[in-house]
């Protein structure tokens, strides 16, 4: 987006589901801010920002505890209840930073997920419930990941008395606070985080939410068409 560049990758590995949710897979989201983006990210410097971004993304993509409103359907990741499931590792890397990293990461992850193919798994019949069933991962067939429900994040930055969408780092340096809203296809808000220390009037927040919904519709349509175009190109080459 503009000068901000991020790379997102999705890897899937076989793992055991956690004992509190045996019929769901696991998704782990991690964002890394590399020093190539800004000199202050060297060593431990970028850790705080990357934690904040990872937490915000996790909130938006995983929804409530009961799984309602989640962008990724966790039960589709489970293979054998309680024994084997897919662990999805979603990693983001910030290469060049010019403001509004969260939106760029959201878009990149959506594109990465739509490009993800989970290999088909054949389960050899398990002997007893205690043994780990043998799983045969096939290399040929892939299951396309369902990304119709994955959402889009829009960040509104409040500068003075106005709010702007998609701020560059120059604009971000002047911000008093920012609200990141993630909206899904049905127009429902799936996550909202407020960054920045300044207080906001509740009416301002209501206003921001409606603006965010409006902008996210346009953004989502644009993203979907771009992703479809990119995939079509990939198939041709």
């Amino acid at each position: 987006m503009g000068k901000t560049e991020v790379i997102a990758s999705v890897k899937a590995e076989l793992g055991r589901p956690s004992s509190s949710a045996p019929d769901k897979g696991k998704v782990s989201i991690f964002v890394d801010c590399s020093p190539t983006a800004a000199p202050q990210f060297e060593g431990r410097g970028g850790e705080e920002l990357s934690m904040e971004l990872s937490a915000a993304l996790r909130q938006c993509l995983l929804g409530g505890k009961s799984g309602a409103g989640a962008g990724i359907n966790l039960s589709s990741l489970s293979i054998v209840d309680g024994k084997v499931c897919w662990d999805l590792y979603i990693d983001g890397l910030v290469v060049s930073m010019d403001g509004n990293v969260l939106d760029a990461l959201g878009a990149a992850i959506k594109a990465a997920l739509s490009n993800t193919g989970i290999p088909k798994v054949n389960i050899a019949s398990a002997a007893t419930p205690d043994e780990q069933p043998e799983v045969d991962v096939s290399d040929e067939e892939f299951l396309q990941f369902d990304t119709t429900a994955v959402l889009v994040i829009v960040t509104l930055t409040k500068v003075g008395r106005h709010y702007i969408v998609d701020a560059t780092s120059e604009e971000e340096s002047q911000m008093s606070s920012a609200v990141s809203v993630s909206v899904n296809r049905q127009g429902l808000i799936c996550g909202l985080t407020k960054r920045g220390g300044a207080g906001l009037d509740p009416s301002v927040i209501y206003d921001m939410i409606s603006v965010a919904k409006h902008v996210s519709e346009q953004l989502m349509n644009k993203l979907d068409s771009e992703i479809a175009a990119a995939e079509a190109m990939e198939e041709d080459s």
Partner: protein, 256 residues
């Protein structure tokens, strides 16, 4: 019964899943009663006390139902030499859970996440330029986690800051609302939190009517958000009054 008791251990196979599975999500029922008999829009009664820790500059203890939190403030103290000079003060927050705080021993390490959220909620309320070059340390310890932990920690921390005499724009009150099925439930308990379809947490400055932090997870429509925010702001202003009366009480007893 006697025959069963005499059965050999080999034939008896305990099924550990029965405890968890026998809790069907009945939260779609409209007339479901909350585990502690509260109304949907009723908060837990709050017990707040300042001056819990003698060695600290300021401290507070809060008990909201089963959630018990103690916060102590140290500072303003000299900043570490490694940190650069800054003409506004620094705030350092740390939240930790005791090992016996949750029903299952040992809490998942979400401490850094909660600490940074506490930091974000408090930094908007403290006048940081009244203590340049120094750091104020906020240490929160969750003794028992009974649901709705972060809002309780935030409210308790602002009470402790007031007890320490740190200058603030206003007290910070925090409330969270859970969305269970179609109902909005305020101040959820751990049980309700596990089944929630979405949560909304607001921290606000009651007298200034300003929101310093807003976190939403799950799926919400715009009208639900409005409703939930109205509910929370109302609860926050009531909580602010309770916090103020607690401070006045402790100030008057110390004068005697």
């Amino acid at each position: 019964m006697a025959a069963k008791a005499g059965a050999t251990p080999a034939t008896y196979s305990p099924s550990p899943t029965t405890n968890k599975k026998t809790r069907p999500p009945l939260f779609t029922d409209v007339d479901w009663v909350r585990p502690d008999g509260r109304d949907f829009h009723q908060c837990r009664p709050a017990f707040l006390r300042t001056g819990a820790v003698n060695a600290a500059s300021g401290s507070a203890y809060a008990e909201f139902g089963n959630t018990k939190v103690i916060v102590s403030i140290f500072g303003p103290r000299e900043s570490k030499k490694a940190m650069m000079y800054s003409d506004i003060g620094r705030l350092n927050c740390n939240v930790s859970y005791t090992t016996f705080a949750t029903p299952v021993r040992g809490q998942a390490s979400e401490n850094k996440d909660i600490s940074s959220q506490l930091h974000k909620s408090l930094e908007g309320a403290i006048m940081l330029d009244t203590f340049p070059k120094t750091t104020v340390d906020v240490f929160a310890l969750v003794l028992e986690s009974g649901g709705c932990d972060l809002p309780v920690v935030i409210s308790c921390a602002s009470l402790a800051l007031a007890d320490a005499g740190i200058m603030m724009y206003d007290l910070v009150a925090a409330v969270s609302v859970s969305c269970l099925g179609k109902n909005l439930v305020i101040d959820p308990v751990t049980e309700e939190e596990n089944y929630q379809g979405g949560s909304l947490m607001i921290t606000c400055l009651p007298s200034r009517n300003e929101v310093t932090q807003l976190t939403i997870t799950g799926e919400w429509s715009a009208s639900k958000i409005h409703e939930a925010m109205e509910l929370c702001l109302d609860a926050c202003s009531k909580l602010g009054k309770i916090m103020r009366s607690c401070l006045k009480e402790s100030a008057s007893t110390s004068q005697e």
